[in-house]
Amino acid sequence: MNDAVENKAIGLKEQLLENDRKFQETGCYAGITELKYREEDPLRYESLHTKLRSMSIAAREMARSISASPGVREVGEMVVALYTPEGDAISLSTGIMVHVHTMSRFIKWMIQNGYEDSPGICPGDVFANNDAFIGTVQVPDVMVVIPIFHNDELVGWAGTVAHELEVGGITPGGDVYLAQERFTEGLFVCAEKVGEKDELRRDYLIRLERNLRMPIYWMFDDKAKLAANLELRDQVKELIDDVGLDYYKRATREFIEEGRRAQLSKVQQLMVPGRYRGHTFYGHLTEGKPGILPLGDENLLYSIPLELDVGGDGHMHLDFEGTGSWGYHSMNCTPAGMDGGLFVTLTQSMNFEGKVNDGAWLATDMNLPSGTWTNPDRHTVATATSWALLLPAFGIFQRLLSRGFVSRGFKEEAFVGQVNSPMVEMGGQSQYGSQFGMAMFECSAAGSGALGIKDGIDNGYVGWNPESDMGNMEVWEQGIPMLYLGRSIAADSGGPGSNRGGTAFTSLWLVHNTDEVTIATSEHSSRVYDNAGMCGGYPAPTAHRHFTVRDSNIQQLIGEQKPLPHTLGKDPYTSDFDRLVEGEKKEVEGPHIDKPLKAGDLFAHSYNGGGGYGDPIERDPLDIVRDVENGYVTPEIAQRTHAVVLEHDEERNAWRVNSEATEARRKEVRNNRLNKAMHVKDWIASERERVLEKDFVTEVHKMYQDTMSISSQFANEFREFWQLPENFTM
């Protein structure tokens, strides 16, 4: 008898509980203590896994070709996965890996909430969800799943998720920054049955048509997701006919258990056991912005500490104790979203080969303190831009892993990694004369953090999708009433280091063929670095400033064939808007919430680069010459931060290093550092005075007030570290 094959007589809910019980009891997924099928016939076993993964990949490719959304077609914001009846991921395509486990939560939620009885789970049914408290990250991440029945038995689920470009929120786009509670985030589909008999219900499609600014994206994407699921379902059913149902059930569970074991082994191989700690901060600058409601009308600073415990058995425990409370803003995250962040980071650093599935997730766990932004205790909290805090949080995780890799000698695996990449969202009147809404997913190709052995990836990485890309401008322009005047490397956007952080790019647009376009960008840390460097590397600068010129004289400039702005320029003090254009100029810090633009206006936005690795003054001067000549680094930063002395050859328009002067300059920098250095004990003593006096700016003071009140553990540790009186409070 196949002991891992569930009893058909019991319901799904009982099956789910039974699986959990077996996991608790044996420590192995679904009580699978030996990988019997793998041992008996490894070729057959591997062949099944290969087929299932291939089916998911092929289904995703099909769905991408159906989609109307450049987010999906052009930059691949989609993932397809196959699940067990209880909702555990067996195999998955590439793409936005973050959603593999969020979809798992959605399936489990339906089971736990009695969907078998009502609304019923029948062959041909289609379920959809974008409620993060049920299982997704944010409203635009709309998932569609279908049950897979073999004869009368539910044997699994096929699920597909895509990031929608327009969700009908208070401002156009998908990541609706201005949502301060659930009620303005856009259209919610809360674990609903949206289709029957393999078709989407007409009333669901009507609801989409009537509640979205640009329904075609979501509608075609849902059709694409359903088509992908049906394709996967039908192929899986055929495969079950070939291999037999019992074999399928046991083998697919063995895949997950193997994935769990592989994750543990990988941790044992790559990491040094012990306790790792990291920290980052996130600045939120919104006070007084148009549309901010009284409850959320303040600037905030978020403290995000992370403690990672690596056990000798390879188990990892992440603890966010000490982080801040949820707030009236859109950056809160649900446990489902945090799962997503964990999963996508694991798939990029450890869980990328062999059985990539929920096993890796089972080999890790997290403490997400209730009431914090990681686990809000109220489901009406907004999560529309949860990536704002999520990415910095898992950026720490990536750096902690990298510390482990470096300690163990795997320097080539060290990756300062993920960064925040704020998105431009817009809507209004399109160039076709109709209404439109769009999230510009070109943000999916920021600069990565540096690596242990080389520079970060320039314009080619974001944490949520390792298959990062920015797409073609000619494709984006078909969906927006704006023309690119330029898309250029954003100088100095990568953190300096002996290995430089990857740089991002700046887009500059001329608004065209419209009387009204509203631009709303998603949140990103302002004034505070949210992704650090490593081993002496600097963090990447924050890039959250937006530039507009209204009522510009661009037509006059064009008529006179005068130079136009194509980038913000390489002078940090004077932008090309300032130098070249006349009109009503504005620089907005923090999210861009402002009155609409019209044809002839200009808008510029930069994405984010990654942190550096190693001391910037150890960077090879010849690499810096290459950086300067190609616009990755300005001569100013090269000389100031990297301490190289460069000389410009006007005739050849080339740069060269003055080696002797560089050596001397670097020596001087080292000496300056030594002169400036003080004993840690002295520094702590002086800072302690400031802490005792609560000598902080408002945001820092409020941050400590919040974190000390929400976490007694943090408060105690804080007092202990600074040797404060027991009754000390903020």
Binding site: S47, T50, K51, R53, S54, A58, M62, S65, I66, S67, A68, R73, E74, T94, M97, F220, K223, L226, A227, L230, Q348, S349, N351, F352, E353, V356, E412, F415, Q431, A445, I457, N459, G460, Y461, P466, S468, D469, M470, N472, M473, E474, V475, E477, Q478, Y484, L485, G486, R487, S488, F505, L510, H512, I558, Q561, L564, H566, T567, N630, G631, A654
Partner: protein
């Protein structure tokens, strides 16, 4: 002299060897081989052709006079691109796009990677640009996606940009403007300005306008195509014309053909030669499909190991997947291509051990044909895989290239000992096998990667192994992968060339459009749509016909098959719909076209994803112009004895395999007959290739004289012996 009438000559010039296949009307093959002569490819071409004609004792001039078709496909242009040894190009783009040469597409940092490496982000890296930023200039201009001029081109910037680029001694100028495929006005204007500057300075260098090279949406892909055309094809074109001249000097009266990436033949004067750059592997795919149809193996993984590279592709149920946006040398293109993957691994691959760290590595450099492996004694100083094979007795030192080259095994041994074995502290034979196994493991993992990324179930597929080095290493790179069957061919070395001979003349012409019809379209709109479609198809028809006629084809032989790239309005991906009629005479014909789209769409994407109420948009109109060509036949003979004829036996030789010496039976490939079974340890020799069968494995010859490689149940996996 043999009484045969040669019909088709196919030549495939690889990085190392130039392979020839000569096919006669009865379906007999003669395989010729000669080292590739990269500087004057025509020399290697004639030598290789001579090698083939010698086998049948034919006079080379008479053969060329009688030949109906000669086709030549080479990897010269691809190698130019891979080794970054192309022309010094200058580039003018829409101002603001200059950084595109560095930024590329984000996806170029991972495209073509395996599933694992796609996830494992630390492996991602952009390809090196073909043009440095210092040779890029912007011209202020903008055209929107409707084709309207929004910012007229600043001609003075074009003039100064061209002058600055000329100061940098450019050898070619590329121009790529936004939406030039919709309205080429600005590219033409910049091109004219450049010509005037050239004339003033008395400079004659080519200008490549992106809308001429590839008039398709997606500026980055268009830019890549244009740059590659300019960077890598001009030397290639001279070589092709040189090959044709050489053939004509020997009496050939037609024009030389070459192979396009989508599997058609084109005259060597074809204006968009970058479309031929992945043609070598394509030949193998076409050959595999042709053979597969004959022998009932319609799902095939092809694997071609030559001297420089290892190419892998998949044919599923007779269909070769077409990739619309393939990557070429990691650059994204908009060029329909028969899907293939390539890694740098072949007989000429150089093996290295770092003298300090003792890190062992393979290639990707190849010794090529010049200087070639050490054992060829032509000046090679770095040990290669072929040297390892010679040291292990797997290659016959007296019969390399049919005995034309005497291998100096002692020299190879000495170099391998000094550069690899001694630094590692191992025996020279152990070192040789370790390196060979490393190569085989790389090849195997690239097959595994195609299995994983293309959704292939090996149990339903045959593996075809060919190329000069394929049969030498196939035993290990195919072991344990679970294929339905593993096949090779007596003419394995020239299989790609053979594949090219199975192709038709096929040119594809297309034009970007934006034609919408939908439920709300008025009769007038529909009539206008039909008018536009008919007009473009008709223009393309005359363009295609005149191109083929100029290549010497008869008007009557040309068949033009129009197509439309269609989508539901709002979508971003097209489906290529073959036109149900060549001209839309009536309103019903327009319905027939949309119906054909819906039928095909449903077949590809399932009916649930259809959305007729959104209307239909045609993004591109095109046609495939085809002229059928004579094709070679394989001859089928009854199965005979299991034992080869005694004259096929060539004695025995010691062969090192699995860390031991074995007495291998030697066989002559061309003497094998249908029904023969060869048990390992054995080596089957052919002037152009060598098949190695380790102990425990065997090879069966079928009625088509195809070789079926069968792995023994218990044979030790030699790949475990990696250093």
């Amino acid at each position: 002299m043999k009484k045969t009438t040669p019909l088709v000559l196919g030549i495939d010039a690889g990085g190392t060897m130039t392979d020839t296949i000569l096919v006669d009307k009865q379906g007999n093959f003669a395989v010729g081989k000669a080292p590739t002569t990269p500087n004057y490819e025509s020399e290697g071409f004639i030598e290789s052709a001579q090698d083939a004609t010698n086998i049948w004792n034919l006079d080379i001039n008479k053969t060329f006079e009688e030949l109906e078709v000669a086709l030549y496909s080479g990897t010269g242009m691809l190698n130019t691109l891979l080794s970054r040894t192309g022309k010094r190009i200058g580039l003018i783009v829409t101002r603001g796009m200059e950084d595109a040469v560095l930024m590329g597409r984000g996806l170029q940092s991972w495209a073509g990677y395996s599933y694992e490496d796609r996830l494992h982000a630390v492996t991602h890296a952009h390809p090196d640009p073909l043009v440095p930023l210092s040779r890029v200039r912007g011209v202020t201009e903008r055209i929107d996606h409707f084709g309207q001029v929004v910012i007229p081109a600043y001609e003075h910037e074009a003039v100064s940009g061209v002058k600055e680029l000329l100061e940098q001694d450019i050898e070619g100028l590329c121009v790529c403007c936004m939406y030039s495929h919709v309205n080429p006005e600005h590219e033409l204007q910049i091109g004219e300005a450049a010509r005037r500057v050239f004339a003033e300075q008395d400079i004659d260098i080519p200008i490549y306008l992106s809308h001429h090279v590839r008039p398709i949406i997606r500026e980055q892909s268009r830019l890549n195509s244009t740059l590659i055309e300019a960077y890598a094809t001009s030397q290639g074109r001279e070589q092709l014309l040189g090959v044709e001249t050489a053939a004509k000097q020997h009496g050939f009266s037609n024009s030389m053909q070459t192979m396009l990436s989508y599997g058609g033949l084109a005259d060597v004067r074809y204006p968009r030669l970058h479309e031929t750059m992945i043609s070598g592997p394509v030949g193998g795919l076409l050959g595999a499909r042709h053979v597969g149809e004959l022998v009932g193996a319609d799902s095939v993984i092809v694997s071609d190991m030559g001297g420089t590279s290892f190419d892998i592709g998949a044919i599923t149920r007779g269909k070769v997947p077409i990739e619309d946006e393939p990557t070429l040398a990691r650059f994204k293109l908009n060029l329909p291509t028969l899907a293939m993957d390539t890694i740098g691994a072949g007989g000429g691959t150089i093996v290295k051990v770092d003298p300090y760290t003792h890190k062992v590595s393979l290639g990707p450099e190849s010794a090529g044909s010049v200087p070639g492996p050490v054992a060829m004694d032509m000046g090679g100083t770095e040990p290669t895989i072929a040297d390892c094979d010679a040291i292990m007795g797997r290659l016959n030192p007296d019969n390399f290239l049919g005995g034309k080259v005497q291998l100096n095994v002692d020299k190879a041994k000495q170099v391998l000992k000094e550069k690899v074995a001694d630094p590692l502290g191992v025996d020279v034979y152990e070192a040789a096998e370790g390196m060979v196994n490393m190569l085989e493991m790389e090849a195997k993992s690239s097959i595994e990667s195609i299995i994983s990324s293309r959704g292939v179930d090996p149990g339903e597929y045959h593996l075809m192994a060919y190329g000069g080095s394929g049969p030498l290493h196939m035993a290990e790179y195919s072991r344990g992968l679970g294929f339905k069957g593993v096949l090779s061919f007596p003419f394995a070395a020239a299989f790609s060339a053979f594949g090219c001979t199975t192709a038709d003349y096929l040119h594809r012409h297309s034009q970007s459009v934006h034609i919408m019809t939908g439920p709300d379209s008025s009769d007038k709109d529909r009539e206008e749509a039909r008018r536009q479609i008919n007009e473009i198809w008709s223009e393309l028809d005359s363009q295609a016909r005149s191109e083929l006629i100029s290549e010497g084809h008869e008007t009557d032989a040309i068949v033009c098959e129009p197509f439309a790239m269609m989508r539901y309005t709002g979508q971003l991906e097209d489906v290529e719909v073959a036109a149900p009629v060549t001209k839309l005479e009536s309103d019903e014909d327009l319905d027939k076209l949309t119906q054909a789209f819906e039928d095909l769409y449903e077949q590809i994407n399932r009916s649930v994803s259809g959305y007729g109420t959104a209307g239909f948009t045609i993004m591109e109109l095109g046609l495939n112009a085809r002229v059928e060509k004579v094709k070679p036949e394989l001859s089928r003979r009854p199965l005979g004895s299991k034992n080869p004829d005694p004259e096929a036996a060539k004695g025995k030789r010691s062969m090192y395999y699995n860390r031991a010496w074995h007495e291998a039976q030697l066989w002559e490939m061309d003497m094998l007959k249908p029904g023969n079974v060869l048990e390992g340890p054995a080596i089957v020799e052919h002037p152009a290739t060598t098949l190695v069968i380790p102990a425990g494995d065997r090879v069966r010859v079928d009625e088509w004289t195809i070789l079926h490689y069968e792995h023994g149940e218990d044979t030790q996996n030699s790949v475990g012996n990696v250093l």
